[in-house]
Each structure stands twice: as C-alpha cells, then as structure tokens.
Symmetry: C2
Subunit: 339 residues, 2 copies
C-alpha cells in the first residue's frame, strides 16, 4: 500500500513553485505551473498532478522549452485573442490571455483564444473551469505528439488530441468533460508497459497494422482513436482547429521537433468561450435552469455526469488536506533541492 | 433489384419544389427544402435525399410545422446572428442567416448562427459545405428527439445529436464530417425494425436497461451513444450548446411536443464559422497547405477521409444524372399530385 501524506494547498503550491524555480523556470512560469499541477493533485487527477513536474523537468533538461519565455498577446479583430507562448510552457500563456478572452466573450457573445508555440503538458479542465467561473461556456482543443493512427490506417498521425467542454452550473462545480480522442490515454499505455500488462482490445495496432493488446507492440505501431471513424474524425478536427486554423504545428510536427527527447509536445491550442446571456437572450439563471433539467434527467436514472469523481476529491482535499504519496513527495522535494 | 431512373438536377429540383408546394409549403420553404433533399439524392445519401419529403409530408399532416413561417433574423452584438424560424422548417432559416453569418465571420474572425424554433429533418453537411465554399471552417450541432440514453443509464435523454465539421480544402470538395453521436442512426434502427433483423451489439438497451440487439426492444428502451462515456459527453454538449445556450428546447422537450405524431423534431441549431485567415494570420493557401499535409498522411496509408463516398456519388450524378429508385420517384410524384 503506498503511504499518503496530506498537505495544505499553500504548502504544495510553494513546493511546486520552488521546484519549478530550481529547474530554471522564471517565477511567472513556476507559479502558473504550480497552480495547475496542484489543482490536479487536489482533484486526485494524478496523471496531471504533481507527478507532471517530472515531465516539466524532463522537458527542460532536453532543452525543448524556453524557461523564461514571456508570452506575447495580440488581439486580432474583436473576437480573437492570440497569445504567442514563445516556446514556453502553456499555463502562463493561458493566464496571459484569459482576461482578454473573458472580456471579448462578454462583449461579442463569443470569442477565441489561440495559443501559439506553446509547450503543453496540462489537462484542459483547469482552463475550462477558469471560464465557467465567469459564467461562460467553453470548448478547448489541442493536438499532442503523433501516436494515434486514423481509422482504417496503421501509422500515427494524430496526437491523443483532447477535447474539453464546460458549462457554468449554479453552485460550486460546473459541468465539465475533458477526454482524449485516443481510445486510452498515453499515460495509461505507459503504465501498462511498465507493469507488463495487456491493454483492453481496440486500443492499438502493431507495426503491421494488426490489432494488438501489447503495449510495446502498440508503441512500435500506433494507438487508435475511441469510437472508430467518428473518433478519428474528431481527432482530425482537433488537428485542424488547433493546428492549421491557427497556423501552428500538428502532432506529427510536434513529434518530429521532439526528435526522441521524450519532452512535452510543442504546438498550439484553441479555446472558445461563449456567453449564454448573449446567445440565449435571457438572464443566465433561466438558461442554467434549462441545463439543470437536462442534468437531472441524466442523474435521476443513476447515470453520472463527468468530473464528479474529481469534485468529490476536491471536497476531500478541502477537508483533510491534499494527498500526495510519500514516494512522489520525495521526488518533488528532490527536484527542489537538485543542483 | 430496385430499378433506378436517372434525372437532371433541375428536373428533381422542380419536382421536389412542386411536391412541397402541393403539400402546402410557401414557395420559399418549398425551394429551400428542394435544394437540400436533391443535394442528398445527388450524393446518394439516401436517408437525407428525396425520401425525406415523406417526413416533410408527415410533419405537415401532423400539424407540427408552420408551412408559411417567415424566419426573422436579428443580430446580437457583432458575432451572433439569430434566426427565429417561427416553427417553420430549418432550411429557409439557414438560408436567411447564411449571408450575415459569412459577413460576421469575415469581420470578426468567428461568428455564430443560432437558429431557434425550427423543425429539423436535414443532414448538417449541406450547411457546412455552404460555409466551406466561402473559405471558412464550420462546426454545426443540433439535438433531435430524445431516443438515446446517457452512458450508465437506460432512459432516453439525448437525441441522435449530430456533430458536423468542415474545413475549406482547395479544389471542389471540402473536408467534412457529419455524424450522429448515437451508435447508429435512427433511420438504421427503423430499417432493422422493418426488416426484422438484429442490430450490431452496443447500439441500445431494452426497457430494463439490459443490452439488446432487438430493434423493437430498443425502441421501448433506449438507443446508446457511440464511444461510451465520451460519446455521451459529446451528446450532452450538443444538448447544451444547441439548447440551453441558445435558449431553446432540448431533445426531451422536442419529443414531448411531438406527442406521438412521428413528426420531425422541433428545437434549435448552432452553427459556428471560423475564418482561417483571421485565426492563422497568414494567407489562406498557406494554412490550407498545412491541412493538406495532414490529409496526405491519412490517405497515403490507405485510410479514408470522411464524405469521399458522397463526393464520388456527386461526380457520378454530374455525369449520368441523379439516380432515383422507380418506387421513390412514384411516391414523390404522388405527393405532387395529391389533393
């Protein structure tokens, strides 16, 4: 049984920030990254928790990120906010663009934040929740590294290409989902490889294109999208909307740039924000009530809304402190004190 | 073997328009509907071809549509075009809003068309192609009747809730997909019921929530989404974005309004348009070339892009005329001459 330690949020924020600074990040980047990894840890979303600081460290050591990049924001017309991350990590770029995105969505009913040239390792739900907190609906898309074959193919073209969406519910928690368009997450594939276990059927093909459940064979072949040709179409949409549309790299270009370094992907991201009051032409509570009626129809029959496990973990963390395994805590401590 | 007849497009447009007028539609509605059903027939997309005039007739006879509704367009801020279809069929509402949507997308980089209070029976790809023809990317969402249970549930909440997306390729044909978020189309379920055949596994549950492959049991129970909880999340997004966001009915309300009449669903639709030149900050051909490189990576390995079968059918129709089965042709002729 792994041994868990429990910490107040502020302690972990300070630890994560100190680790980031020690790794060479500017204070602004270290702080923005600390916020998202501690949020992941708080929600027991471990693949995007403090553990991700190891990805950050690996990416920095591989020389694949600018530790002191200062994101440059420009507004294109009234509704498009562009933030060039200058090959720095994405969280600071998102923070830089967020206020202008919210303002533009309020003013025009909808607006977009296009982040270019960022190094990306985070989940998308923290960004979605930052928008739903303002009473906006939001949709976010980003490519990754090319690990996933199109339906009917066997060679990697797509990244795990997450799609995240949120709707501002009354009360503390929004409706929010955030999922990979690959059949499983890349992290799960790596866990299976380390454990030497087989994957569920339908997650990948070997180098010859034959269905495989072996993680090593799939790494030499390709992962598959969820949902057959429909998931493959959605993965294509992510490449186009968060790639060609915003003039940025696709997942193949990101992987080529990585050149085997094992660093976080480098590409763009697209975030859309929608003001229900402007779209629905009536007060927000009235539109929210329409949505609540939908959610009730789902929950009354015992089906779950996405992210409920995360929100329950968030409640636990608020009560008892944020759990961190003793081993991971030691690794993050080591990052902080490494030369 | 069904016997096919071949007609020039203009002949079928005139026939479809005459049938619509005979059914009581205003000339503007009859013309807008003729355009979309003949486009479906031309592309051998038979579930949305001339056959759909029978749905139109059924909906009119059930008293569930206003045959002479005049769509009312208003602009909300700079980026939101609203068209109230006044409980008329949707194609005329889309035509009414299209020029303003294109203009707003060009001016602001992105824009939305929210259609309210429409009766909806068409595929979404004709609308997507109307936008890609202007060099825009586009995303369209609409609910339908509540036939589909959420993941983990057994009672219908969602419609078949299609998602359609398009990207403007150079050359005659865009990249475009248009799929139901249900595991199979409602029309396929009905075909299986009529034929007395079983469905593939995973398409539905019986009234007790047990997996079923029997079309009648599924009609008494519920259809399922594609892709498990991910498809279910996307179906929820469609209900929210093309429902609560725009202050319109969801699929449950549409089905309640139908009250067993078997008419086309009544609700809203959301169409988003994106100008790549504004987002990508460089000439369209350069951004298109980035997308073409992605498409090549898909096609070079023998995988297919969506809609290629439709485009091949369109070529055939241009050469040889549009094929209509003799039986369907007789049915449409009968609509035209019915009292």
């Amino acid at each position: 049984m792994p041994h868990d330690l429990y910490f107040p949020q502020d302690h972990l924020l300070a630890l994560a920030q100190a680790a980031g600074t020690q790794l060479g990040l500017s204070p602004a980047h270290a702080q923005a990254i600390a916020q998202v990894v501690v949020a992941g840890q708080r929600d027991e979303c471990h693949s995007h928790g403090l553990y991700r600081l190891l990805t950050v460290a690996q990416t920095i050591r591989a020389g694949k990120v600018r530790c002191d990049a200062v994101p440059v924001m420009t507004q294109r017309g009234r509704s498009i906010i562009r933030v060039d991350a200058q090959f720095g990590f994405s969280p600071l770029a998102f923070e830089t663009g967020l206020p202008a995105l919210v303002a533009a969505a309020r003013e025009n009913g909808l607006a977009a934040l296009a982040i270019n040239h960022c190094v990306h390792f985070t989940a998308l739900w923290p960004e979605i929740e930052a928008l739903t907190a303002h009473g906006l609906a939001a949709l976010a898309l980003t490519p990754s590294h090319a690990w996933v074959a199109p339906a009917g193919g066997k060679q990697p073209v797509f990244g795990t290409n997450p799609i995240a969406f949120g709707w501002p519910r009354p009360g503390p928690y929004p409706y929010v989902f955030d999922f990979a368009t690959s059949a499983i997450a890349r992290g799960d594939l790596e866990l299976h490889r380390r454990a030497g276990t087989q994957l569920p059927a339908g997650c990948g093909v070997d180098a010859q294109g034959a269905p495989s459940r072996d993680p090593l064979e799939i790494m030499q072949g390709a992962m598959l999208t969820f949902g057959g040709h429909k998931g493959s179409a959605l993965a294509t949409m992510v490449e186009l909307m968060a790639g060609a549309l915003i003039g940025d790299w696709n997942s193949q270009q990101s992987l080529a740039h990585d050149a085997g370094a094992g660093a976080a992907p480098a590409h763009g991201e697209l975030i859309l924000a929608f003001d229900p009051v402007a779209f629905g032409n009536r007060p927000l509570p009235e539109l929210q009530q329409m949505a609540e009626s939908l959610f009730s129809s789902i929950e009354v029959q015992g089906a779950r809304l996405p992210s409920q496990r995360r929100f329950a973990a968030r409640e636990r963390s608020a009560q008892a402190g944020i759990a961190v395994s003793a081993g991971l805590y030691a690794e993050i401590q080591a990052l902080r004190s490494s030369p």
